[in-house]
């Protein structure tokens, strides 16, 4: 028996068989399997909500799903809601982008320069665990009641998580890969570009995801705090509805906030899963 034939046979035996291509029926079944727990959870929440409303508990504040969704539907017909969402999402995008740049640069510097790490490493972790809305009063004094103040709070919310994600990724680069890079002659910038940064990617994306969650909640808190004349944000919409005793409006705004948070988080989860799957860190079919 020739070696190549034996080796070829062994290769094929050792590999897992290719998963059969998903047919249409199977695809539908998989979609259903992923969807039903979520649908069930939503139905449960709605049922409990409806029951609480029917019990009449604080009925002047608590509106049932019916009135709230019809209010939401009504608002969705008007440009006001969309421009409000636009204002908030623009602040979120710019603030998050700034946090991304600042967090990445700081993270890279701290990971590379040991004295800097000793100096600010624990400060970053401290900032990360601090609710960044605590900076809001300070930001208002510093920047006045405007978007810059909100942006400041958002950046302080997101940047530490992003920096920490990158630092963790660099720290956890497997030593064997570093040795391999050394024998290959990867040095300086090439070492970072082809070895350390790609190896850090999963932890970095985890940091980005956590950074988004912090950015979003900081943004909501800051918008409640900072009212900018002539510009209605989601947080301000909440304030206005509350002052007008429009509790169906408050409830539908809360739903808007929840949905935006979930949608963006799902995008990060998808990115995270595709990275993990490509590296064999996730079993095929795992996760939703």
């Amino acid at each position: 028996m020739a070696i190549d034939q034996a080796l070829d046979g062994l290769d094929r035996l050792e590999l897992e068989p290719e998963p059969p291509r998903a047919e249409r029926g199977r695809l539908a079944r998989r979609a259903w399997a992923a969807a039903w727990p979520k649908l069930l959870a939503v139905a449960l929440v709605l049922a409990i909500w409806e029951l609480v409303t029917l019990s009449g508990w604080k009925h002047y504040v608590l509106k049932g799903p019916g009135p709230v969704f019809s209010d939401l539907w009504g608002q969705m017909q008007h440009a006001q809601l969309w421009s409000t969402i636009g204002v908030t999402l623009r602040t979120a995008a710019v603030g998050y982008a700034a946090a991304l740049v600042i967090g990445s640069v700081v993270g890279m510097l701290v990971a590379r320069i040991p004295p800097l790490r000793a100096a600010v490493g624990s400060i970053i972790t401290g900032l990360q665990s601090m609710p960044s809305v605590a900076w809001a009063p300070f930001a208002i004094v510093l920047f006045g009641e405007n978007t810059a103040a909100i942006m400041f709070v958002v950046i302080l919310g997101a940047a530490p998580s992003i920096a920490n994600g990158l630092i963790t990724g660099v720290d956890y680069t497997p030593p064997l890969l570093l040795r391999v890079g050394q024998t290959m002659g990867l040095r300086g910038v090439a070492r970072y570009r082809f070895l350390i940064l790609p190896a850090s990617l999963p932890a970095y994306v985890a940091g980005l995801k956590q950074g988004w969650a912090f950015a979003w909640r900081s943004l909501m808190a800051a918008e409640l705090f900072v009212s900018i004349i002539g510009q209605v944000s989601i947080g301000q919409l909440l304030n206005v509805d509350q002052q007008n005793l429009d509790f169906a409006g408050v409830s539908s705004t809360i739903i808007v906030i929840l949905v935006i948070g979930i949608v963006v988080d799902t995008l990060f989860t998808k990115a995270d899963q595709s990275i993990r799957r490509r590296r064999g860190l996730l079993q095929a079919g795992a996760g939703g």
Binding site: I3, A6, L10, T183, M184
Partner: protein
């Protein structure tokens, strides 16, 4: 070709400068030396807690020779390879490779999990500054050489252990090295895969005229692959014995000749280990 020293280090305190290394080991007749270690010591740490990993090791590997290093734990085999690879500097003595390119393989394949098989091999070419146009072709050739041409677009986690180690071999060959250092490369593989890879490695070393320094725990593997088997003592590592494998013997791991030689080497190793017992 003349040997140029790529590093010369003065002996540290405690060594006896000027003593003739007592265990200079030379290659089989008439080969050009490719790797030469002269009185090489390696000490880790300093003061009373210092550990002497290698003690005045002298050893020459001839051009195209396949030398296996064998020894119990703590014989400094991996340290020795690191010194030859230039990953570390000796505390005393000198290591000369005459400007040859040195590539290294480890027990774990150490493939980049984010790159495909092709990407992993190409990375080594890119690190050497091979232009893009040539990289693709060279990668294809290398993958064909390790019989993985059909798996070019797979990722490491989709391969078996033996296949990953072959990708690592292709990547090491992409260094275009003259000297290949292998640190127990087949240690984590099952016996059947390992036997097949022995044949493959034999063929590739022949084709590429590689000089190989191969570290292993497996005596039969050493006899199967090596032109010479060098036995190191433990703590500190010294060359205590060398065996020449008859060139005309069958290259078959279970042949009676191999088994006999392996038996003799095992006996010598046990004797050495017994020295550390009570």
């Amino acid at each position: 070709m003349s040997l140029t020293n790529h590093r010369a280090i003065t002996p540290g305190p405690g060594d006896n400068p000027g003593t003739v290394p007592r265990d200079a080991v030379r290659p089989a007749g008439g080969r050009q030396p490719a790797v030469r270690l002269t009185g090489v010591s390696k000490r880790y740490g300093s003061g009373p807690s210092a550990v002497l990993a290698l003690d005045r090791v002298s050893l020459t590997v001839g051009q195209g020779e396949f030398v296996c290093l064998i020894g119990a734990s703590g014989c400094g085999k991996s340290t020795l390879l690191s010194l030859v690879a230039g990953l570390d500097a000796p505390s005393a003595g000198e290591v000369a490779v005459g400007g040859r390119r040195v590539a290294m393989m480890f027990q774990e394949p150490g493939l980049m999990p984010w790159l495909t098989v092709t990407g992993n091999v190409e990375l080594a070419l890119r690190a050497r500054g091979v232009p893009r146009a040539q990289r693709r072709q060279r990668t294809e050739d290398l993958l064909r050489m390790v019989r993985l041409a059909g798996f070019a677009q797979r990722r490491p986690h989709e391969l078996s252990g033996g296949m990953r180690q072959r990708v690592a071999l292709a990547r090491a060959l992409a260094h275009d090295a003259d000297v290949l250092l292998m640190d127990e490369p087949f240690g984590a593989l099952d016996a059947m895969t390992r036997d097949l890879l022995h044949d493959e490695l034999d063929r590739i070393c022949e084709e590429q005229a590689l000089t190989v320094l191969f570290v292993t725990h497996n005596v039969r593997e050493a006899v199967r692959l090596g032109d010479r088997v060098i036995v190191l003592s433990s703590r500190p590592g010294r060359v205590i014995e060398q065996y020449r494998v008859p060139a005309d013997g069958p290259r078959e791991i279970n042949s009676p000749q191999n088994a006999r030689l392996a038996g003799a080497i095992t006996e010598r190793l046990r004797e050495e280990m017994g020295r550390h017992g009570h």
